[in-house]
Assembly symmetry: C2
Homo-oligomer: 353 residues x 2
């Protein structure tokens, strides 16, 4: 029997609630698909600060590096917001991404027919949207040196090396080859040197993929086009901060940020997490939507463990559950037949896999 060791980071806020449901679903699918999963819990973010005084204990890094894949919930909360940057929950996540070397963040965005009314965008704009945001995750202004906050000024550096651009571009083109063979690279090359290198380098990589059509878009225009006509996008390739902004924006296409998973890959071990945050405002109420995390677990099965059939079982179960009208509170106004708690919808999905 195939055996996989998973590192689990529940994190803060709704993190523990949504991770519990993903594990429920993983247990169900593994029993059907004949593999075994073992879970080890690690602390990161606020939860780690409270225990160890730091957001990413060495023990967590080591545990993650030994795992076959990492499933992560969410971190952060007001309690830790006034700490200096190096001590904040978010810094734990950034340092984990860096330690793992997961430079490629894949954020698929699509629309469920049943939820087409949940978006603030008109249904005709949404039908058929199917894009993959490929965001560079371990470079750019998130990590660039020098960086400092002095008394009278503060600065960060947006930097990319050619090598960093080449490897993320390859991920985007490879992804496009399995999709509609279009890459739209987003930058601000009319203003930034770092974007000019980005654009030139992406052009070079494109030569290795003659079947893929490449276009470029300035980030301001992309933020507009994402709403004007999201169907035009297949693979969107972009840097760390532009990807952060555009993928959150794109989440509105699917109607709820509670639906969107992500995979961070390309390093030693893959990290899988919903794109939403820790939602302190709804923590502990049993109303969080666990679907983004459950779908992140499916991406984990596919990309980290090669369990394609298990991954698509989960995705189909989610589709079925939504089709039948089961909804968490965030989506209760849209073709709901039954409004479920976090744990109820997790159990239903688990029973459908």
């Amino acid at each position: 029997m195939r055996q996989y060791k998973l590192a689990i980071i529940k994190g803060d806020g709704i993190g523990p609630e949504i991770i519990d449901e993903a594990i429920k679903v993983l247990d169900a699918v593994s029993s059907h698909e004949n593999f075994e999963l073992s879970y080890s819990d690690f602390l990161m973010g606020g939860a780690a600060i409270d225990v160890f005084g730091e957001p990413l204990p060495e023990e967590t890094v080591q545990g993650c590096l030994k795992a076959d894949a990492i499933l992560f919930g969410a971190i952060g909360g007001e309690k830790w917001d006034t700490l200096p940057r190096e001590k904040r929950p978010e810094t734990g996540l950034l340092n984990l991404r860096k330690a793992l070397g997961v430079f490629a963040n894949l954020r698929p965005v699509s629309v469920y027919d049943e939820l087409v009314n949940a978006s603030t965008l008109k249904p005709e704009v949404l039908k058929g949207v199917d894009m993959m945001v490929v965001r560079e995750l371990t470079g750019g202004i998130y990590f660039g040196q020098p960086r400092a906050k002095e008394a009278e000024r503060a600065y960060n550096t947006m930097v990319y090396t050619k090598e960093e651009i080449v490897r993320i571009a390859k991920v985007a083109f490879e992804s496009a080859m399995k999709r509609r063979k279009q890459v739209c690279s987003v930058d601000k090359a009319n203003v930034l040197e770092v974007s000019q290198l980005w654009r030139e380098t992406v052009e070079e990589v494109a030569k290795e993929y003659p079947e893929v059509s490449l276009s470029h878009m300035y980030v301001d225009n992309a933020a507009m086009q994402m709403i004007r006509n999201p169907k035009q996008f297949d693979v969107v390739l972009t840097g760390n901060i532009f990807g952060d902004i555009l993928s959150d924006e794109a989440s509105m296409i699917s109607g709820s940020i509670g639906l969107l998973p992500s995979a961070s890959v390309g390093g030693q071990v893959g990290l899988f997490e919903p794109i939403h945050g820790s939602a302190p405002d709804i923590t502990g109420q049993g109303i969080a939507n666990p679907i983004a995390t459950i779908l992140s677990a499916a991406m984990m099965l596919r990309f980290a463990l090669g369990e394609e059939s298990a991954a698509s079982r989960i995705e189909k179960a989610v589709q079925q559950v939504l089709k039948e009208g089961y909804r968490t509170k965030d989506l209760s106004a849209y073709e709901a037949k039954e409004v479920c708690s976090t744990s109820e919808i997790g159990s239903i999905i688990a029973s459908y896999v």
Copy 2:
């Protein structure tokens, strides 16, 4: 009779077409309001590169500095896209903003009832939206040093001084005092030092405006909230690049980027321009929408020349023309009674002021 000297920069692409209509409207309103306008043309962007080999000739800077206000169309085009950054059309605009010292870019976003269906967002999300994006315009990553493109790496610096943040924050709070008294400051303080200084400094400035309520939002969340519920925003205060992205995104709220004006103020002479670009794809066809430029001329009358009554005459004329169903091609599908060319709609607006 009051006399004002205007510097006119038509620029590239549709720039000349839309500026001509704004001048038509300005001439009409000045005859009613008893002031006199004189116009001097200056070159910038691609048009200047073609003549002088550089995007911002000294003569243009000097002419602008001597004017009472500057009305600008748009710049850029494929022809100049391969030039090195310092020689590009966009660099001309950036350098002009810097030379004038116009650190505050005001971008109002609202919705015309008649055009509520023109947006890809649902009407119920749009009704009543009325926000002002206050974007810092002469600092941040657009101008930060060091910056370079080397063979194997490239970088830019996102930098703000406390002084720069204080002065733009004041503009936002002053603007809020005349509006609904809410400022939402957008940053990425969970990751960037420059945003932490931004946030702290905005907090300090807020103390001088006890009537204004201040909130903070991360830029990724703001990009999402802008579509989820744009009504929540009154004044949005942000830095140069985040403002660039968010204001283009917000333009989709009003249904067409061809409707939105902007004012760049706070320096020696104010610069007024539509937020859209030079639209090479529709240049010379007589179908460009001149309304954003005409409304920029109205902002110029209000903010630079103190001609409030003339400004609101123009705004009312635009409203009336839209209400009566006159539309340029971009908006021809939305309650249009008559589809007009660029010059026709300009003439109609001029006749209504």
